[in-house]
């Protein structure tokens, strides 16, 4: 079965006289057929993690287990994996058919007829049957991408590894291929590890997301859990676009004391906070209501600094009345709501939507209330 386990996997690169820890003690367990998206900012170690699973990088410490067997010292050619590269890495001197058949010729004992049948089948699945005689240089970017995927699926491996496979496509093609890849993966039901820096891909494609930062695993959870119940401030800020607003606050009795506002908390939220006093208040832009008729402890007067109309919604950069110019936070409002620069609006930050993070460690101490 195509289970994949990473157990305390660490990668250290020598760097001059010192060392750089690229991947730091990462534990991930993937069940058979799962689609896991590994996401994080540039240089967070996500590609290195993938390359260790592929066998293209050695593992400094920890264990990688494929279908229960430790594969740390198994060469890539014996791991029964297929990888899709960002640059596709199609062999330019071979036809599409040659490219797709190469892996089967090298890794299996199949006869030429069987190989041809499997290549034709995979090409039909990918809709590239009519391109089999062409060279990669004669293909468009989207077609090359399909060939690269076809080359992976024809192998019928235990695990697919994909390293930002869609990032060289234009926006429209990318969203098409995103859907297609999801369909393909659920059809083939092959365990897939998918690396990307694009959080739309992370949110929409994966069964689960693994978020890495500076080589450390931040959270592994379903996309909605990551969005609504982030484990820490990094995850909260990384997932979601526009990203969550953060305000540094100090707890003063039962209120949060910000630089330019006070935010009273209810008893149940205070229970979560415990005795932490340095806190970060987080609230997603869509949870800030800019209705105009808000009143109460959680309503604040603000000034509109910038409006970015997106069509379906407006992204509004707001500033607390007492805050210095340029110190803004973001709210999203409906596309039809009229709002313009310089307007004074009253907003409400509802308490059920706020997240609280420990100001020093960044750990989440309170996440928003989820509707049951």
């Amino acid at each position: 079965m195509g289970t994949l386990e990473l157990d305390g996997v660490t990668k250290v690169f020598p760097d001059g006289d010192g060392e750089v820890v690229a991947v730091d003690d990462v534990d991930i367990e993937m069940r058979d057929g799962e689609f896991l998206v590994v996401v994080g900012p540039s240089g967070c170690g996500k590609s290195t993690t993938l390359r260790m699973v592929a066998g293209l990088e050695t593992v400094t410490s920890g264990e990688i287990r494929l279908a229960g067997n430790v594969v740390n010292d198994v060469k890539p050619q014996h791991r029964d994996i297929a990888m899709v590269f960002q640059s596709y890495a199609l062999y330019p001197h071979m036809t599409v058919e040659g490219n797709m058949a190469f892996g089967l010729e090298e890794s299996t004992e199949l006869s030429d007829e069987e190989i041809e049948t499997r290549v034709t089948d995979a090409a039909e699945t990918m809709g590239i049957a009519e391109l089999l005689d062409r060279k990669p240089s004669d293909l468009s970017g989207g077609q090359q991408q399909r060939v690269a995927l076809g080359r992976a699926i024809v192998r019928d491996p235990e695990v697919f590894l994909m390293d930002e496979p869609l990032s060289n496509l234009d926006a429209k093609l990318r969203s098409e291929m995103r859907t297609e890849l999801q369909r393909l993966q659920s059809e083939l039901d092959v365990t897939t590890m998918y690396v990307t820096h694009d959080q739309t891909e992370a949110m929409t494609m994966g069964d689960r997301i693994a978020i890495l930062n500076a080589g450390e695993l931040q959270q592994v959870a379903t996309p909605l859990e990551c969005y609504h119940e982030p484990a820490n401030r990094f995850v909260a800020g990384f997932i979601g676009d526009p990203s969550m607003n953060f305000f540094d606050v100090k707890r003063d009795g039962d209120t949060l004391d910000g630089a330019v506002f006070d935010y009273p908390l209810s008893a149940s939220t205070l229970d979560d906070v415990g005795d932490v006093t340095d806190l970060t208040l987080g609230v997603r832009p869509e949870d800030i209501s800019v209705a105009g008729d808000a009143a109460g402890d959680h309503a604040f007067s603000t000034v509109v600094e910038v409006v970015e109309p997106m069509g379906d919604e407006n992204t509004v950069y707001l500033r607390f009345e007492d805050a210095p110019e340029g110190e803004t936070f973001i709210a999203t409002v409906g596309g039809l709501q009229r709002i313009s620069v310089g307007d004074e609006v009253t907003i409400e930050i509802p308490e059920e939507a706020i997240h609280l993070f420990d100001g020093n460690t960044g750990e989440a101490v309170h996440n928003r209330d989820m509707e049951e």
């Binding site: 050619q77 297929a82 640059s87 890495a89 001197h93 190469f102 090298e106």
Partner: protein, 328 residues
């Protein structure tokens, strides 16, 4: 000069139908604008830059070749002037009947093919080894390339010492290993291979550099994709990497083959005269010997033309290949 400037302006406005619509004065036929139209808009204006070298090269290279061809059709020998009144192919017939010529042609061919193949193979091997992120990569690269910077004369002297029957390094080594001495230069069955080895020593570094450039142009992902696809290192090089070095192979082969045809300097310096060791006579040495030692001008010209055709046979397909790829 003013005329040039004028046509420059005109050609900017030249219409596809051949007229120059804006300028009424020049609506009639003009040889300059006709030339420009045929060969490109600034053909005449730019001629002062390319025409002098064009004429010089035309005269001294292509003119000389044609003159050489003419002499090869005469019976010119000894002192005096050639008689251009009586042109025939007699000298080519004489060449085909001359066993010395046939031997030289065969040796040239063996040297050409053998030297090129062995040097390419060695250069490719070295390039692959150096490309695998070894230590002291730059040092090795320099060491391998260094012989290329020596002149043929130095290489020949150097290898004359190496191959020396009594005191040569090679014979000292093999006798110390318990084998008998080999007469590398004196044995007609061996000498050509010894020469080939020395030339290979000199040019393997060049082939290596050409292949190394080719290898560096192949993205890392191709190696990685081949490995993940299940290919062993040998299979990866054989099926994925080496086929991508086609361009490098062709470029290196052409240069190596041309050097093989020019091996005259090497053989001349090896013995210090026109008569190379028995078994190592090639067309280039034969040609010079016939001309300057025997004063058989017409016969030497015929040999020269044969050599020229062999060179053309190598360079021609290469130029055609480049032309097809749009590089010419």
């Amino acid at each position: 000069m003013t005329q040039n400037t004028d046509t420059g302006d005109d050609s900017g406005d030249a219409l596809p139908d051949g007229g120059v619509a804006e300028d009424g004065q020049r609506s009639g036929f003009s040889p300059i604008s006709a030339l420009n139209e045929r060969f490109g808009s600034d053909f005449v204006e730019s001629s002062q830059f390319w025409l002098p070298p064009f004429l010089l090269v035309g005269l001294f290279v292509y003119g000389a070749i044609i003159w050489n061809l003419l002499i090869s059709l005469t019976d010119f020998t000894g002192f005096g002037t050639p008689d251009y009144g009586d042109l025939d192919l007699e000298m080519y017939g004489r060449a085909l009947a001359d066993s010395g010529f046939i031997d030289a042609a065969i040796n040239t061919f063996i040297l050409l093919v053998g030297f090129t193949l062995v040097t390419l193979a060695l250069g490719l091997g070295l390039a692959i080894l150096i490309d695998r992120n070894i230590r002291f990569e730059n040092t090795f690269r320099t060491i391998y390339l260094l012989p290329m910077s020596l002149s043929f004369v130095v290489t020949a002297q150097f290898w004359a010492w190496m191959f020396n029957f009594n005191n040569g390094v090679i014979n000292i080594v093999i006798t110390s290993l318990g084998f008998g001495r080999v007469d590398w230069i004196g044995n007609p069955d061996i000498v050509l291979w010894a020469v080939m080895f020395a030339l290979m020593w000199q040019f393997a570094g060049y082939a290596m550099v050409v292949f190394l450039a080719g290898l560096r142009a192949i993205p890392n992902e191709h190696y990685e994709a081949a490995k993940v696809d299940g290919a062993s290192t040998v299979r990866m090089y054989w099926r994925v990497i080496i086929p991508q070095l086609k361009g490098s192979t062709i470029s290196a082969s052409v240069v190596l083959m041309v050097f093989a045809l020019k091996a005259f300097d090497f053989l001349y310096s090896l013995v210090g005269g026109y008569r190379p060791p028995n078994g190592a006579d090639i067309l280039a040495t034969k040609m010079v010997r016939e001309a300057y030692a025997n004063l058989n001008w017409a016969y030497a010209s015929a040999v020269a033309i044969t050599l020229f055709l062999m060179t053309l046979g190598i360079v021609g397909p290469y130029l055609y290949y480049q032309y097809n790829r749009g590089n010419l």
